[in-house]
């Protein structure tokens, strides 16, 4: 970690990040410090449905951590347990080193930015932001100063006297962030806060939120189903599936070394092949031979296996290469322009293969042209077949 997030002494409730060198001295994880969050075999059931399944997770103080996963993976339930809206059926949660079992939401040192903002419609922007301070009986003069400061952080001071319904979604979003941050929580929980915004606004808010977080040094736990959002903002990403963490790592590791086929399929896009392991690769069902130099999971000889290949790792050629390993022959069936890159869809046998070429120096092929796809053994991910149904549920759909 090149960033020195540190909060010196007990409850460091200052906005300015204190940049000192003795960061994280007690332990490498920062467990127990103000702003840390620990979940230990946390389980939450709704009736017979297990929403969170003995989840273990340690969030470091001052970290921007994303909970990423498809809907129903338990990410929102996890966040709601941290906020105190749900109680875990089993396991323990510690926030800033304190066990929070049975501690109601209003007594926790965390604040939430809700998905639909949840601004109080009968109050002005300033009154909304002041709400948390008033509950703590903060003196009036201090309330005004802190509301002004918080609204300044999100550039909303001018609209202080507006009612929520007089504002756009993006403006409401900013107020919601200010309303949470004004309380100076140790941990800020964000429940898909950008989901309702249009793409351009969402990207602006991503940058602003990230800046705000690094300025304040507050732990951010950010729930999202958007992998690009998680990749661009997070220090670490916890990819969740069926109520547990599938992989917890920084964005680069998650992308470069996905721990499972599910992660490889969820982060970025991948072309998947199912086949039988032959030691240093696999023979796919359609006969394609894959040679892999870096298996992500150990698969014994003769067992079912999956090979994954990123669209940008594939090289497209108009002529047949000399070798036949790591090569697929097919026909171009689609071309899409993505601005900085070109995407080809190549039909090989009964499956489609997605190929992404940088625009500069990209080979130009038209639909109907014969094409050969070739790739390096270093780019082949190699997994066991246990999650085959998850990543190849519908081959036709997965290809588009």
């Amino acid at each position: 970690m090149n960033r020195a997030y540190s909060r010196v002494g007990g409850r460091a409730r200052h906005y300015q990040r204190i940049s000192v060198t003795d960061s994280v001295t007690t332990s490498s994880t920062g467990a127990g410090e103000v702003g840390s969050v620990e979940l230990e075999s946390v389980t939450k059931r709704f009736g017979t449905m297990v929403a969170v399944d003995s989840l273990n997770l340690i969030v470091k103080p001052g970290e921007f951590l994303s909970l990423l996963g498809p809907s129903g993976c338990g990410k929102t339930t996890t966040l709601r347990m941290l906020a105190g809206f749900e109680q875990p059926d089993e396991g323990f949660i510690r926030i800033s080193g304190q066990y929070v079992q049975g501690v109601p939401p209003y007594k926790r040192d965390v604040n939430t930015v809700f998905q639909q903002y949840a601004l109080f419609p009968h109050m002005t922007v300033a009154e909304n932001v002041a709400y948390g301070l008033r509950q703590k009986r903060t003196p009036k003069s201090e309330v005004a100063a802190r509301v002004r400061e918080a609204l300044g952080m999100v550039k909303m001071t001018k609209l202080a006297d507006r009612k929520p319904r007089q504002m756009s979604g993006g403006q409401q979003q900013r107020v919601a962030v200010a309303r949470a941050l004004v309380n100076r929580p140790s941990v800020l929980l964000l429940d898909e806060p950008l989901g309702a915004l249009d793409r351009k606004l969402r990207e602006e808010m991503q940058i602003e939120l990230k800046l705000l977080q690094s300025q304040l040094g507050i732990t951010f736990i950010f729930v999202t189903h958007d992998q690009e959002e998680a990749m661009s903002m997070s220090d670490r990403i916890a990819i969740m599936l069926d109520g547990h963490v599938e992989q917890l790592a920084d964005p680069e590791t998650v992308y470069e070394h996905p721990s499972s086929a599910f992660v490889a399929g969820f982060i970025g896009r991948n072309n998947f092949w199912k086949g039988i392991s032959n030691g240093n690769g696999l023979v796919a069902e359609d006969g394609t031979v894959f040679v892999a130099t870096r298996p992500e999971e150990h698969v014994s000889n003769g067992e079912g296996a999956l090979a994954a290949l990123r669209p940008e790792s594939v090289q497209l050629r108009a002529t047949a290469p000399e070798t036949s390993t790591n090569v697929v022959a097919g026909q171009v069936v689609g071309v899409s322009h993505f601005g900085d890159s070109l995407q080809y869809v190549v039909r090989a046998g009964n499956r489609d293969l997605i190929v992404l070429c940088p625009r500069a120096g990209a080979i130009r092929l038209a639909p109907g042209d014969d094409a050969w796809c070739q790739w390096s053994p270093d780019d082949v991910y190699f997994f066991s077949a246990r999650q085959a149904d998850l990543v190849m549920a519908d081959p036709a759909e997965a290809a588009h």
């Binding site: 105190g84 939430t112 949840a118 419609p121 009968h122 709400y131 309330v143 005004a144 001071t157 202080a160």
Partner: protein, 312 residues
């Protein structure tokens, strides 16, 4: 705007837009005018006439108009009944809020969705079944040898038999029972419209249950409370069935008095004058209540206001 642009607007569009709603709402407006506004005006007119039983079926002489009916009505009996009517109605409305709000709150927030409809039906359906039968049914437990009296005697709460029947207490009790459903329904609608995350946001920001209720739930439910008050208080003031059946002589209400003037005494002008005064009194009550609420709300809002000072 340039001239051609202005001219391109078809001239026929405007009048059509203006008359359309009027034409569509015309029949119902006529209906209300003929069967609601007109009869009320008639009552107001009758209130200035004199009683004349020779002119049946309308025993009113309109040749000698005057204020004599109002002068007569301003008597001791009338004021006593008038005061007790307002008292009973105000207290009953307050009780309806006190009873209705927790019930509506419970149904909205504490009950699983599939039970909500059933519970709501259990509250609403009785409110719409025969008013007369429900009121008559109260005579049984309230009688001196009735179930309530016997039960209280068995538990040694009271020594001799009590009779709540034919008293103000009986009217008070039954009128709350008769109208509480009309309070619960609008309250439920108002509470149900409050988005779930709002109450969670309040708790997240450090407000406990009570403060969340007083600062978020209650203010957002206030339109429902106002609707509920109007739906219960106004008909209560005019209610005569409850008072006639359960009130006896001690539990009289204006509605019953007006009814007796019209039906028993055949004195339409006197009944009309009382009715007009009652309508006026209800309006005054509502205006005073509204003004007080407004003042309280303004004070509360001022306390909540956050001034950012130099930036304003």
């Amino acid at each position: 705007m340039t001239a051609p642009a202005a001219m391109s607007t078809p001239p026929a569009a405007k009048p059509r837009r203006r008359w359309g709603p009027l034409i569509l709402s015309g029949p119902s407006m006529l209906w209300y005018a003929a069967f609601f506004v007109l009869p009320i005006l008639w009552i107001v007119l009758y209130s200035f006439g004199t009683k004349d039983t020779a002119r049946l079926p309308v025993p009113v002489d309109m040749n000698h108009l005057g204020l004599q009916n109002y002068r007569q009505a301003f008597g001791e009996t009338f004021f006593q009944v008038f005061r007790s009517t307002i008292k009973i109605s105000v207290l009953a409305t307050a009780l309806c809020v006190v009873i209705g709000l927790p019930v509506a709150y419970f149904i909205t927030f504490k009950v699983k969705e599939r039970w909500r409809g059933i519970l709501l039906a259990l509250v609403i359906v009785p409110s719409f079944t025969s008013y007369l039968i429900r009121t008559l049914a109260w005579r049984i437990p309230l009688a001196g040898n009735g179930a309530l009296s016997k039960l209280l005697q068995r538990w040694d709460v009271i020594n001799g038999p009590i009779s709540l029947l034919d008293s103000r207490g009986a009217v008070q009790l039954a009128i709350v029972y008769n109208y509480v459903g009309f309070m619960i329904l609008p309250l439920y609608v108002a509470l149900d419209r409050i988005e779930g995350p709002l109450r969670e946001a309040s708790k997240d920001l450090g407000a406990g249950r009570l403060r969340t209720f007083s600062q978020v739930t209650f203010p957002l439910a206030s339109p429902g409370i106002v609707a509920g008050i109007l739906l219960t208080f106004i008909p209560m003031c005019g209610d005569f069935v409850t008072a006639t059946i359960l009130g006896g002589t001690k539990g009289n209400m204006i509605g019953a008095l007006v009814e007796s003037q019209f039906v028993a005494a055949q004195n339409w002008p006197s009944g009309s004058a009382m009715a007009v005064m009652m309508v006026g009194a209800v309006l005054v009550c509502l205006i005073v209540g509204g003004a007080v609420t407004k003042v309280v709300m303004t004070v509360l809002r001022a306390r909540r206001r956050v001034s950012l000072g130099s930036l304003a």
